[in-house]
């Protein structure tokens, strides 16, 4: 049965106020079309997580959609600190989010533990740091220190995470949701498979036969997936390997806009509330900046050698 639907349908049907969301991406394959739709539909009280959050999380926080953030990091990369993130934590604007902090080792391990059905997992980081001194909504459940039952050394345990929904953007998927990526993965595979259901946003929908020509690229199998949305250019202003580059001009535009509350609201009015879906967003982008700018982001082709799985 096909799970193909529009982003509006996918978010309306599968993301609810108060849900715990894993949102994949690592500059690479940020599911921005979904982020914008979550904001357009006014979802709220979300708990969100992923390692190395960036402009997409900053925007969700600024839009007031986030209640809790299981975090490792949030910045705008070359554009510096996340403005909405800072306003929330420093000034309580639009409200102060609750933040539980881990690292880019422990958080992916917690998602992996969730995907593997384990209750918790030992990690070798965080010890000796003030990350152990600050506890938020997870309270005493943030971590435990035990003596290893094997050799008595102090061992840090962190809890498994099982998000309600994972949202990822991938290069291609079939209509049942077998999802394939290539290039930098971040914590996408473990985050998606830890979740109770997955929304797959993709650059293109391909046949089941195409998936079967290179099945080692599949990071999420169809039985985990609730919805498949074809969203070309869906990660912009992030990038998708083999499809388009990071849009540094737009990154700068967001940074400038988000410097002030008014600028941020105007940005949302233009790029989120002012367009009804990703197609309208692309059309607006081309009208605003010209087709040459849009075309300039598109990737060149440099195919690898085809692989053979034949026997």
């Amino acid at each position: 049965m096909s799970k193909v639907m529009t982003m509006r349908e996918a978010i309306a049907e599968h993301v609810h106020d108060g849900d715990f969301l894993f949102i994949g991406g690592y500059v690479c394959r940020t599911p921005f079309a979904a982020i914008h739709e979550i904001i357009r539909q006014g979802k709220k009280d979300l708990t969100v997580t992923r390692s190395n959050a960036a402009d997409d999380f900053d925007m969700l926080i600024g839009a007031g959609a986030v209640k809790r953030f299981i975090a490792t990091f949030l910045s705008l990369g070359v554009y510096g600190l996340g403005r909405c993130f800072r306003r929330s934590l420093e000034k309580g604007v639009p409200h102060k989010i609750e933040i539980e902090e881990y690292t880019n080792l422990s958080l992916p391990m917690m998602l992996m533990a969730g995907a593997l059905g384990m209750p918790f997992i030992p990690v070798k980081d965080m010890v000796g740091s003030d990350l152990l001194q600050v506890k938020s909504f997870l309270g005493e459940g943030k971590y435990k220190v035990i003596e290893s039952p094997f050799d008595g050394t102090p061992t840090l345990l962190v809890p498994a995470l099982n998000p309600d929904v994972a949202i990822i953007h991938v290069q291609q998927a079939d209509e049942n949701g077998n999802a394939q990526v290539w290039g930098i993965e971040g914590d996408c595979k473990w985050g998606a498979n830890a979740a109770r259901k997955v929304i797959v946003s993709c650059e293109r929908i391909v046949s089941r036969e195409v998936i079967g020509k290179d099945p080692s690229r599949t990071i999420v199998p169809d039985f985990q997936v609730a919805a498949v949305v074809e969203e070309p250019f869906g990660a912009h202003p992030g990038y998708t390997p083999g499809f388009y580059d990071v849009d540094f001009m737009f990154g700068s535009l967001y940074q400038q806009a988000s410097n002030s509350e008014e600028g941020f609201r105007a940005f949302l009015d233009e790029w989120v509330f002012g367009v009804e879906d990703r197609n309208a967003y692309i059309q607006h982008y081309i009208e605003r900046f010209g087709y040459a700018q849009f075309r300039g982001l598109m990737a060149e082709f440099d195919y690898g050698y085809p692989v053979s799985y034949a026997y």
């Binding site: 190395n52 980081d125 000796g128 003030d130 390997p241 990071v246």
Partner: protein
């Protein structure tokens, strides 16, 4: 001995200081900016077999432009390995394969503890910073840690406001309490005024060398703790012509390193 060059900018000298800490064959986990430039200088000069990885999942990338983040698209084509955070941070770093970690911090203290979380009180921050990201595990689990920092009484501290990434924590024995090897941890703090190295016994940073346009006095004045000075303290060796050629012709022909001048690395 290579010819030295007097016509260089401070970020180039600092990158060279980082490069000189990297040994041939080292596995280096890098962020963007200084770490990548430094590791590449080493690779094009004395350490051709050093290899780099990025926490996002990449090993031995072959970028055709300077990467602007550890997730930059230019890291993809040509890499020897691309996986996930679990692969690089888990399998390689936590699996104790990484020789050198390269970090920068908004605030660094005399035991090499780094703060990238918050300036001021955690609950009521004066300035909220990005957080750990990969820094905490890199600082704890890489064999040798190199730190880049600006040299003034705000950026260097007797004690950081928040230990995001432990160096030697409270001094000798602190790492062992957590089951961490005592002989691993910060090696140097490379600043825009000099190079501070960590004493093997006291675990405290001392002045090893001052940059050509700085002095011991200037450094002592701008360090907020009673900085010890090495008996053989000396001027930092200037970049060699070979090092500068690697930076300007191979690694960074676009001169992106000059952005550090605007960030105060002068």
């Amino acid at each position: 001995m290579n010819a030295t060059e007097t016509d260089y900018i401070k970020p180039e000298l600092m990158a060279c200081c980082g490069a000189r800490e990297i040994r041939d064959g080292d596995l280096v986990i890098v962020g963007t900016g200084f770490p990548t430039v430094a590791a590449n200088i080493a690779r094009y000069t004395h350490a051709p077999n050093a290899r780099m990885m990025q926490e996002s999942g990449v090993y031995d990338a072959q970028p055709r432009r300077p990467a602007l983040s550890v997730g930059d698209p230019c890291l993809n084509p040509g890499a020897a390995f691309i996986g996930s955070l679990i692969d690089v941070m888990g399998m390689f770093l936590q699996g104790c394969k990484v020789d050198v970690g390269f970090l920068s911090g908004s605030q660094v203290d005399k035991y090499g503890n780094i703060n990238t979380t918050v300036i001021g009180d955690y609950e009521r921050p004066k300035s909220r910073l990005p957080g750990s990201g990969g820094a905490n595990p890199i600082g704890l689990l890489a064999r040798r840690v190199l730190i880049i920092a600006l040299h003034d009484k705000r950026r260097l501290a007797e004690k950081v406001d928040f230990i995001t990434t432990p160096g030697y924590i409270d001094g000798p024995g602190s790492r062992a309490k957590w089951g961490l090897p005592e002989d691993q941890g910060p090696e140097v703090i490379i600043t825009n005024k000099g190079v501070l190295r960590f004493d093997k016994e006291s675990k405290e940073a001392y002045l090893e060398s001052y940059h050509p346009d700085s002095s011991i006095e200037e450094i002592l004045e701008n360090t907020p703790w009673d900085l010890k000075v090495a008996e053989d303290v000396h001027e930092t060796p200037q970049p060699t012509a070979e090092e500068l050629r690697a930076i300007r012709e191979i690694i960074d022909p676009m001169r992106m390193i000059t952005i550090y001048l605007k960030r105060g690395y002068v």
